[in-house]
Structures are given as C-alpha cells and as structure tokens.
C-alpha cells in the first residue's frame, strides 16, 4: 500500500466509524444503570448513617419489618410476632426458607447479633430499647425474643424504621463486628448480592440477582411486601457531575438518575425519552441550626429574633428555585402531609417578617455587635444557598456576621466544637433533615433537647424532653397527635432550631423504565425495563 492508499483507507474507516448510527449502547432489559445521589464509599449501614449506604444496603440485606407508604411497619423477614399483655415480652418468628447469599439459612441468632449491633449505634430508638432489655435471646432457629423491664410500644416501628441506621439482618459472624468498626464482608439475605469484585468505589457498584431470595406474596410497597427483582444486574454509576449525569440520561447511557440537578429539570422534561417526577414525597426540612451554648443564642430571645425575621420563602427559593411544586412553608417541625403534622406554636414563622422586633429582641438578649460565626459548606448547593440567605438576614437585623466558607468535611468537624466562637466554635450552620426522619420524634435527632448528649447545638429543655416522652407513651394515633402538637409548641417556643422550609427534589428516568415509585429511598423491586 502506498501513502495515498493508506490515507484513503484510514479516512474511509474513520468516516464509517463516526457515521455509525446511534452509538449509545442498546438498552439491556436485564441490566439497570442507576446514578445514585452520592458515592457509595462503603457498605456498612450501621457503621455509617449516610443515606446512600442505607440505599445500597436495602438491596443486599433484608429487614425484619419494612415500612409501607403509610409509614406503617409491615412484616418482612418475620412471619409474625406476639407481645404479652404487659408489653414487656416480644416474640418474633422468622419466615421459613430465608437464606443468606452464602447459602446459609437465616437463623434467630443472626437476628439477635444484628439487633445487638444496631442498638449500640441507633441512639433515638435502639438505645432506649437496649436500656429496657433484660434479655434478647434466640429461642430456636426461627424464633427470638425480647424480655423488657418496661414496655416499649414503638418496638415494631423501631425494628422496621427506614431512617438511618436501619436494622439490617446480617450473619452472626459479621454482626459481631464492633459497631464502631467497618464490616469486611457484605453477605446479606436481600434480593441482590453485592459484586465486590466489580466494585470501584467512587465510580461503580454492581449488584446481581440473588436467586435464593424468597419474596413475600404481597405486592411490594416501599420496604414491605414482595421484593421481586426484574433485573439480573443493577449497576450504580457514580456521577460526580450533575450535568454529565443529565447528559448521560438523555443519551441513554444510564436509565435512572436519583437526584438530577434542579437547574436541568426543564431540559430533561423537554426530552421525549425522559420522565421526571418528585423523588421523595416526604421531602426534606431545611435547618437553621443554632448553637445554644454561645451568646447571644444561649438566650431564647436571640433565637426568637431569628425566628420572627426569617423568611422561609427566601430560603426555599434559593434552594430549589422558582418551581412552586418543590417547596412549601413549614411553620412547624414535622413533615407536612403525614399523620402527625401540626402547626401548633408555629405563628412566629408565619406572616410578615419583623426586623425591628428582631433587633429589639437581640438588644434585650444583650447582643452588642459581637461577630456571629456562620459555618457554610459551600461545596453543597443546599447549604451554600441557605448560608447566603442567612448572611443577608443577619445583616438586616443588625448582626455582625462572619461568613466562613468551608467544605462539608470541615463543617462536619467544626460543628462538633463546643468551644466559644473565638476559639474555633460557632454560632450557626445549615443542613437539612430527610422528611422521613421528621415524621415523629423517634428518628428526629435534631429535636432532641437533652443538652450535652443532644445533636450539634446542644439544646437543653426539660419541657421538650417531657413532650417527647409523652409521644413515646401515647397509646394510639389520637393521643400521638395531641402529644406532637404539644411537643411542636414547646419546641417552637424554645426555638430548638429554625426550620427554613420544606422542600422536595426530582428524580428522572428513561421512559422505557417503568415502575419507579416516589419514596424516601430508591425502590428497585417491581421496576422493569423494556
């Protein structure tokens, strides 16, 4: 071949290759390519409370009970349970035929070990159960029993809760791992097994169907019912860049994006092959977290000054934009549209914002223009938006704000400091709480007012704690509603923290995928792909 011949052949080859129609991979109906909300950096749902880990764990490990879309715990691994009239002895029986991915049967002793590990790390519910437990024992291979020294009416809710850390059942040898150390084996009894050999943390995680899984007969409903998998493989593709994820979805390179960028939603909606809908109906509660230890916010009047000046509309518009479907005002602490939602005591968050009264309250609290340390995680879009609005708000009410732009890793460290602001401490930081965690006080860590042992900011209020205890003791829904209304009012009066509003996010998927549901976590069972 001479030079001209070579060039001609090369050019023709290249042109042919480039002109090939639709190079995107043909959809493989047995493989689902999913872009999760974050990187799956580890898979121990007890060691870490990150939601993305919980979401991956839902595929690998099964749960004793699972919540449905009415937030009611339903039997999942358990066949049924009995509780004695005094409420102190709970006996659970496992379904027959449950198997781990290594072929071993799921036994009651595995459940006991898993519950023991979970109780150490789950402060809101596991901890109180542990304190009340005289014995937790395997009666036989399929039956295990709690013997409590005082009743715990929310037992089923605790064992089936979806908030982190959720109770996943692991083989005894794995569950025996120190709860503060990471497990090294990912063997569960869930519908999918983890392909550790294909795991590239930060890039890809692969799950393959576990043929030994026996789904329940009922229809799947969130974490309850028959978890029937229609895929041989589920590939989680970690996409650090939201724009790339959206482009990959449009191009058919991925099937489902859990949290597409809200800015790109109009673009995705305009694509005839892409469906867009609300991801989690329980949404999120934005949080203006205040440090109760440091002046001026150790005085409730200073906290109330924020409460009456804060405009939730400003915050929500900054967080989710102009889309009215994505947010609503939240003059309360609990998730809207759930059974216990209440606005009792929420008046300070309603109506016209009053900067003058806020300034007056700050003066009464003894504020004299000291610097207010505002920690802002600028690498997280939501906290950055909230931080910017707060900086403006504080200036409007005459506060001397020091905006400290940090990344989330640093905020995570700084917020743990109980030191005064001039020694590395802080006054305010922003975050948000999953609405699923805010449906009642059991998983609502941010509402705990136990002082030193409370969540960051360390609020201390005996009244709020008393009202939380009142909910635990409530025997039925009507009593729970009364207890929650009282709790909400007490917490609002004390200003545990200031909710910045309630907001939701979208999810997007290719239209050849069907069965995607709205839930606080991605539900893969009953999803199919044409």
């Amino acid at each position: 071949m001479d030079r001209r011949g070579f060039l001609k052949t090369a050019a023709l080859t290249a042109a042919g290759a480039l002109a090939a129609p639709r190079l995107s991979l043909a959809a493989d109906a047995k493989t689902l390519r999913f872009v999760p909300q974050a990187n799956l950096a580890n898979l121990d749902p007890i060691w870490t409370t990150q939601y993305v880990v919980r979401n991956g764990s839902l595929l690998i490990w099964d749960m004793l009970l699972g919540v449905d879309d009415q937030l009611q715990p339903q039997p999942q691994m358990v066949e049924g349970h009995e509780v004695t009239a005094d409420g102190k002895t709970w006996t659970f029986k496992l379904r027959p035929g449950l198997k781990f991915h290594d072929g071993e049967p799921v036994l009651a002793k595995d459940c006991v070990a898993s519950i023991n590990r979970w109780m150490v790390r789950d402060a809101p519910m596991g901890g109180p159960i542990k304190k009340r437990t005289d014995a937790l024992e395997a009666v036989d291979d399929r039956i295990f029993r709690f013997r409590l020294n005082q009743p715990y009416p929310k037992m089923l809710f605790a064992l089936g809760k979806s908030s982190t850390p959720a109770l996943f059942i692991m083989p005894e040898r794995i569950a025996a791992t120190d709860p503060y150390k990471q497990i090294t084996e990912y063997v569960g009894s869930g519908p999918m097994r983890f392909k550790r050999d294909e795991w590239v943390p930060g890039a890809k995680a692969v799950f393959e169907r576990f043929d030994g899984y026996v789904p329940r007969d009922e229809k799947a409903n969130w974490l309850s019912g028959g978890k029937r998998m229609h895929f041989d493989r589920i590939e989680w593709q970690i996409q650090p860049d939201g724009a790339t994820a959206a482009a990959a979805l449009q191009n058919g390179e991925v099937d489902w994006v859990e949290t597409p960028l809200s800015d790109l939603i109009p673009l995705l909606r305009s694509n005839p092959n892409v469906a867009v809908d609300i991801a989690d109906p329980l949404g999120n509660v934005g949080s203006f977290r205040i440090n109760h230890l440091n002046p001026p916010f150790n005085d409730v009047r200073a906290r109330r000054a924020i409460q009456i000046a804060l405009s939730q509309e400003d915050y929500m518009t900054a967080v989710v934009g102009d889309d009215p479907e994505l947010w609503k005002a939240l003059p309360g602490y609990f998730t809207p549209d759930t059974p216990l939602y209440t606005e009792a005591g929420g008046e300070p968050l309603k109506g016209k914002r009053d900067y003058e009264l806020a300034k007056k309250l700050l003066a009464e609290a003894g504020y004299k223009n000291e610097p207010i340390i505002l920690l802002v995680a600028t690498d997280v879009a939501i906290t950055k938006a909230e931080g910017d609005v707060t900086a403006d708000l504080l200036k409007r009410i005459g506060m001397n704000v020091q905006y400290q732009a940090l990344d989330w890793g640093t905020v995570g460290q700084r917020r743990a400091s109980k030191e005064p602001p001039d020694k590395g401490g802080w006054h305010i930081f922003h975050t948000w709480h999953a609405g699923a965690d805010c449906v009642n006080p059991a998983s609502y860590t941010a509402l705990d007012c136990s002082g030193d042992t409370a969540w960051f900011g360390w609020p201390k209020s005996d009244l709020v704690q008393e009202k939380i205890a009142g909910w635990y003791a409530a025997p039925d829904l009507a009593a729970e509603k009364i207890a929650i209304a009282e709790l909400n009012k007490a917490a609002m009066d004390f200003v545990v923290y200031v909710p910045t509003g309630f907001f939701k996010g979208y999810q997007a998927w290719r239209k050849n995928v069907s069965g995607v549901v709205k839930a606080p976590f991605p539900v893969f069972w009953d999803v199919t792909k044409a």
């Binding site: 480039l18 002109a19 090939a20 129609p21 639709r22 190079l23 995107s24 990187n39 950096a41 580890n42 060691w47 870490t48 409370t49 990150q50 939601y51 790390r121 402060a123 982190t164 120190d178 503060y180 150390k181 990471q182 090294t184 590239v200 943390p201 930060g202 890039a203 890809k204 593709q237 970690i238 996409q239 650090p240 860049d241 790339t244 994820a245 482009a247 990959a248 449009q250 191009n251 390179e253 690498d379 940090l406 990344d407 989330w408 890793g409 640093t410 995570g412 460290q413 700084r414 917020r415 743990a416 975050t431 709480h433 965690d437 998983s443 860590t445 042992t453 409370a454 969540w455 960051f456």
Partner: protein, 313 residues
C-alpha cells in the same frame, strides 16, 4: 548514562520523603474530619468521637506519621478509611483510565501541536501563522470543563457519535476504548496543544534564522526535509522541556476532565478522597503523582541526549 539514570532514580528517595512529610503535615493541620463524614449527619457527637478513636485519628502526629512511614517503607500505602480497601488496590483500579487518558492526550497534542508550530513558523506573518496563534490563544484561555461540556453536547448529545461519559478498558477492544477517550483527550489536550504549539513556533523561528538553515537551503535541501530533519531536531530540546513541565498541568487537568466525563481515574479518586478526608488515599495518590512527575522529568533529561549529542551525562 545508565549510571546517571540510576543516580537520578535514587535521588528521588529524599524528594519523596520530603513530599511525604509535607503532605502528611498539610493534611494534619488542614481542617476536616473523616469521622464526622462517616458518622453521617444524624450521628451524635459521642458517635463521632468513638469512630475517630477507632480509626486512630486521636493519636499524636508523630505516632501517626511514624506508623504511616513505616508502612510506606514496606510498600504498604495503607487502607482507605472509607472503603476499607488497600490504597494500592484502589490506585491499581484507577490507574488504567488515567494513564490511558494522559497517553492519548499526549499523542493527540504532539501530533497536532508540533506540525501547527512548525507550519506557523514556516509561514511566519501569514494568515496561517495568525490562525495557529489564534487557536493557541483560544486553547489557553478556555477552561477544560467548558471545552468538555461543549464537545459532549456536540458529539454526544447532538450528533450522537460518541458517549458522554465512562471508560472502557482496552482489553475490551480498541474502538470501544478510543470511543470513550476521544472527547476527554481533546478537551484535556487543548491547553497542552496550545502550549506546545507556541513553544514550537517560537523555537522554530529562532532556529530557522540560523546560518546553517540558510546553508541547507542553499545546498538545495527540500522544504520538508529542512523543516523537520534539520530545524525541528535542533528545536527539540525546549519542546521536550515544555512537554515535561506541562505534565503537571496534565495531571491537574485530568482531575477536572475525569469529573466532567465520569472517568474512574486517579484524578477523581484524589478529589473524592480530599472531599472525604480519606487521608491514606490522598497521601498515596499524591506520592504517586510526585513520583511520576520526577520520573517524567528524568525521561525528559535523558531525551536531551537523543536530540543534542553535545549533552552528556
């Protein structure tokens, strides 16, 4: 020359030690807490403390540094705090995409930039020269991520010729491998191309004004032979130098490119590790990059002898 190369390789040891100490110290004083990230947003402060202790992050600086160094000396870069996987394993998983991206970028950049620079020098002052220089300016001044998004929009979303993201190993075929890397390599290579093209042009202009070039012309040497055999070879030393120096910017650019095109390479591993404060991974990757940089510069030094016989080691 072999003795020189061996000496240079051994001289990297103190360099790497200094880098190790510097990186470790920097991470030690930098704010951030992996325990808080592991524990998650709902964890209590007590949980965070317990996790920190279980990871050994509450130990004094000297103890931690000594422990880490001891393992490094034994070829153990440690274990990732988050994934519980050995850092060497994580690097091994990620090295192919990054090395592939860099090599392809290098090939593309050199293949385009050197002819561009030579032709611009040859046609000095003409529209061709101005076109080449304008391209170089655009290449310099356009951020990698902008080029990346534009390329992805045109060639993936609009024309549907190439994929938006991802990486396919060369073991699965040459075309699938290239298909994923073409856009990232062009995006990453643009700055590099501009840099090399400008240096090539400037050096060639200098060389083309030399007496021996005029003599070669007078002796009837053909244009192509004169440009590429005589002039370019003599202009090669500065070009090779800039290729070596530019390697650092290639590493920096790879971090952005890998994020934009979702390539599971070392750049993304580094960013993820920094955001999470995964200290062993950060330290391991920075050490590797430092070693590669030293190695590339050694290769550049050795290449000098190839282009200029007057240089002896």
């Amino acid at each position: 020359m072999l003795a020189y190369a061996v000496r240079r390789i051994f001289s990297t040891i103190p360099v790497m030690l200094i880098v190790a100490l510097f990186v470790f110290s920097l991470l030690y004083i930098a704010p951030g807490d992996p325990a808080a990230i592991i524990a998650g947003d709902q964890a209590t402060p007590a949980d965070v403390e317990r996790i920190r202790a279980s990871l050994g992050l509450d130990r004094p600086f000297v103890v931690r540094f000594g422990d880490w160094l001891w393992h490094i000396v034994h070829g153990d870069l440690g274990t990732s705090i988050f994934t519980n996987l050995p850092v060497t394993h994580m690097i091994a998983q990620r090295i192919e995409p990054t090395v592939s991206l860099m090599i392809l970028t290098l090939i593309l950049s050199l293949a385009c930039a050197i002819p561009m620079g030579v032709v611009a020098a040859w046609k000095h002052g003409t529209w061709i020269d101005r076109l080449v220089m304008m391209t170089a300016v655009v290449g310099f001044s356009t951020p990698v991520f902008v080029v990346g998004y534009v390329l992805a929009y045109i060639f993936a979303l609009w024309l549907d010729w190439l994929p938006v993201q991802g990486f396919t190993s060369i073991s699965q075929g040459l075309w699938p491998f290239l298909r994923n890397l073409i856009l990232p390599s062009v995006a990453l290579g643009l700055i590099y191309m501009a840099l090399i093209a400008r240096i090539t042009r400037a050096t060639m202009l200098d060389v083309l004004s030399q007496d021996y070039v005029r003599t070669a012309k007078a002796k009837g040497v053909g244009q192509a032979g004169m440009l590429f055999r005589h002039a370019l070879k003599n202009a090669a030393v500065p070009i090779v130098t800039i290729v070596g120096i530019g390697f650092a910017s290639l590493i920096g650019g790879a971090v952005v490119t890998e994020s934009v095109f979702a390539i599971p390479g070392l750049g993304r591993l580094t960013v993820d590790a920094i955001l999470r404060r995964d200290y062993p991974v950060i330290q391991g990757v920075v050490l590797l990059f430092s070693f590669l940089y030293v190695l590339v510069n050694l290769v550049v030094d050795l290449l000098y002898t190839l282009f200029d016989p007057r240089i002896r080691y």
